[in-house]
């Protein structure tokens, strides 16, 4: 193809929908941001996750942050109206009792604990664990994937066999055992060990990406200048995998929430006195027929978080790797 010399004002942007047709120049970052913002699901996910995090952190407070919600999650109290939720969103003219939050918006459990505060505490814990898992899994996965993808031969074979080995062990079994061994050392430790057993999908993704990038001209050029492997990985390959790394963080976080809640539900995850969304559901699952709200709220929060994170991940993937219809000529 004839390569037209490009002026900044009118450079055909290779990544945009129409190649070589003279489209306004935008930097890679601007393009990604623009595509992300146009992805409705991703924006909704951002808003949803932001709202949940904000609500969880400010309501009952965390560490130095004081909360605005007056009740705490551990003290018991008297049951009001059988512990039914007082939250109402249905306006009066539609047969509801109007917009109101009330004394116990999410209701109370059988010993009168405020269920809103408890759910918020569970949300905080689940989010903290999920973020730690996401970061640890992405870090380990990226390291393994990048090294395995870049170096051919023995180190690749060894790392891929290691990955195969971890994949052979069902995640729930592996995660369940490390979680029990972490015991009651707290949620940070739990997050760390779970991260150490869930890095394989990231490693595979990154390895695939690195394998294709290492054959690109600019890497070959760098190698021919005698650039060190470490420098090529850090300076040339990783920056080009930023997109896929960010996407895999979101994937890891989403599956971490699900994994943690499943483990806690089975009694293998978060241990009392701490609690998490999965733990709450497990604690109150038998109350389903009597006090269904004890079952719904934490479940809805899990779905809200995971759905938001998944939508964000989808938006990011589309933004970094647009597979739009290309008009070729």
């Amino acid at each position: 193809m004839r390569r037209t010399r490009t002026k900044p004002a009118q450079a055909p942007s290779g990544t945009d929908a129409v190649q070589g047709m003279g489209v306004r120049t935008r930097t890679q970052g601007q393009l990604v941001l623009r595509r992300f913002i146009r992805h409705k699901g991703a924006v909704a996910g951002m808003i949803g996750l932001g709202a949940i995090v904000l609500l969880a952190v400010t309501s009952i407070g965390a560490g130095p942050i004081p909360g605005w919600w007056p009740k705490d999650f551990s003290s018991t109290g008297t049951l009001v109206d059988g512990g039914k939720p007082t939250l109402s969103l249905l306006p009066g003219f539609l047969g509801g009792s109007g917009l109101q939050i009330g004394e116990h918006p999410f209701g109370q459990d059988n010993v009168g604990r405020d269920y809103f505060a408890l759910t918020m505490r569970g949300t905080q814990v689940s989010l903290v664990i999920a973020f730690i898992v996401g970061i640890v899994a992405t870090f380990v996965g990226t390291l393994v994937g990048a090294v395995a993808g870049y170096f051919r031969g023995k180190s690749e074979a060894a790392l891929m066999r290691l990955t195969d080995l971890v994949i052979t062990i069902p995640t729930l079994l592996f995660a369940g055992m490390v979680a029990v061994m972490a015991g009651d050392r707290g949620i940070v430790v739990l997050g760390l060990v779970l991260g150490l057993v869930t890095w394989t999908p990231t490693a595979r993704l990154i390895r695939g990406e690195v394998l294709s990038i290492r054959e690109k001209e600019f890497v070959i050029a760098a190698r021919s200048f005698g650039t060190s492997a470490r420098r090529i990985i850090v300076k040339h390959i990783l920056p080009n995998t930023v997109g896929i790394i960010i996407v895999s963080v979101t994937l890891a976080i989403a599956s971490a929430i699900i994994l943690e809640s499943a483990l806690s539900f089975l009694g293998l995850g978060v241990q009392p006195p701490d609690t998490s969304l999965g733990r709450i559901i497990s604690d109150y699952q038998n109350a389903l027929t009597v006090r269904p709200w004890l079952f719904y709220w934490p479940g809805l929060f899990i779905i809200g978080i995971v759905l938001s994170v998944n939508f964000i991940g989808d938006g990011l993937r589309d933004a970094f790797d647009p597979r739009q219809n290309r008009v070729r000529d």
Binding site: I167, T168, L173, G176, M177, G278, V306
Partner: protein, 505 residues
Amino acid sequence: MLAFIARRLFVSALVFLAATAVVFVMAANVGDPLAEARQLPSGQAQEAAIAEITERMNLDEPVFVRYFRWLGSALTGDLGVNVTGQSVNAMLENAVGATLQLVLAATVLSIVVGITIGVISALRQYSGLDLSVTFAAFLFYSLPLFWVATLLKQFVAIDLNNWLADPKLALWVIGLIALFVALFCAALVVGDRRSRVTTFVVAFVAMCALLWALSETGWFADPGLGIFVISLTAVAGAIGFTTLFSGLDWHSPPMRAAMAAAIAGIASALLLDPVLRDPNLATIALLAVITAGVCFAIGWLLGGELYRRSAVQSAVFTGLFTGAVIFTDRLLQSFASYSDMKGGRPVSTIGSGTPNFQGTFWQSGLDSVGHLALPTLALMLISLATYTRYTRASMLEVMNQDYVRTARAKGLPERAVVTRHSLRNGLIPITTLTAYDIGTVMGGAVVTETVFGWRAMGRMLLDGINQGDPMPIMAFFLVAGGAIVAFNMLADIAYGFLDPRIRLS
């Protein structure tokens, strides 16, 4: 290819062996098997208990010695004893059947349904159907399994049983179901707005009428298809499969072959009545093989030289489809009697089967279905979403490939472009997905079994972890990890067969 498989087998075996060591070391350290004994009042009884368990589990030996001890006996088929001295072989024997049934049913169903929905969704990209499917996939993907399972158990099962006591559909329910079916049909239709609207209206009215009639005649309490509906479905299947394989043409040899297969099926439904009263699994399998063989012959003969391939395909698929319809009819016919045997509550929420159940082939079939239905549904949802999303993405990518454009440039009808070029290439990456998915399903089975109170492998694993008891954990891992390794290998081999580029290397 053989060398490739052999090498793959060797590497997999080594990796699996290494994994057993890792899991054993962890399982041996996961908890304190003596915890319960230590709870006893100190004294001779406690010491004796501790000594007994230590002796039984060789706790005084280093963990590696214990591993090799386990490995040695496991290779001869002895999986050891658990902390209370029960044979793990016996535990596994009781547990493995139910779990594998659940895992297999969920996997097969999610593959079939997920791929179908994913392909349709990709072919109708950006349509209302596609957007709903994409959103539903996201939602399912984000659902915590145990939460859904509990909901299904608590509400669907109970409400369904209550409803089956007096199965009448309210008018709004009929309308809602018909609306969904009609929207789905309309989304399937290729063509302009008018044909879509026509399809929608026809499907809606037909569905409403059908449901109303079924509800009024009390069909849901005593269902069955009857020879008329069987015939109708078989003929519809014949038309459908022929359209799919060679285009809709009433006088073409493939259509004749498919019709002949359908008629043969209907005839055998009548003739084989004595055999079908209470068959066993072998009879059914034999019948399926005979059906395929007969239909192959029909297609071969009626197809002639020009249409042999598509005639055989249409006939065999129609024949097997008709067989499946007859099978379903028999199951449905036994529903009323089964429901009576279960005291009018056929959908079960506890356990993996009714203890000591005695009944005909069809009744025990229904018993399995009744127990499996909800756990399978719960376990399916998540895998289903994964398959749908991957298939859709893969198909969309393939449909933009140059060779698909080449196929269109040849003048192939769109149906052939999709079935012969897009589909085959688009499904290749899905083989790899099944291998990753099986591990997730295995884990999901543990959760589902817990919710539905099955005494199967999930229970065995959780007891093992909670009691720091390595032998049951290892037994679980042998099955689950073995399944993962096997699926990985099968996927690799299938990949090799489907993609000629891999065969050489």
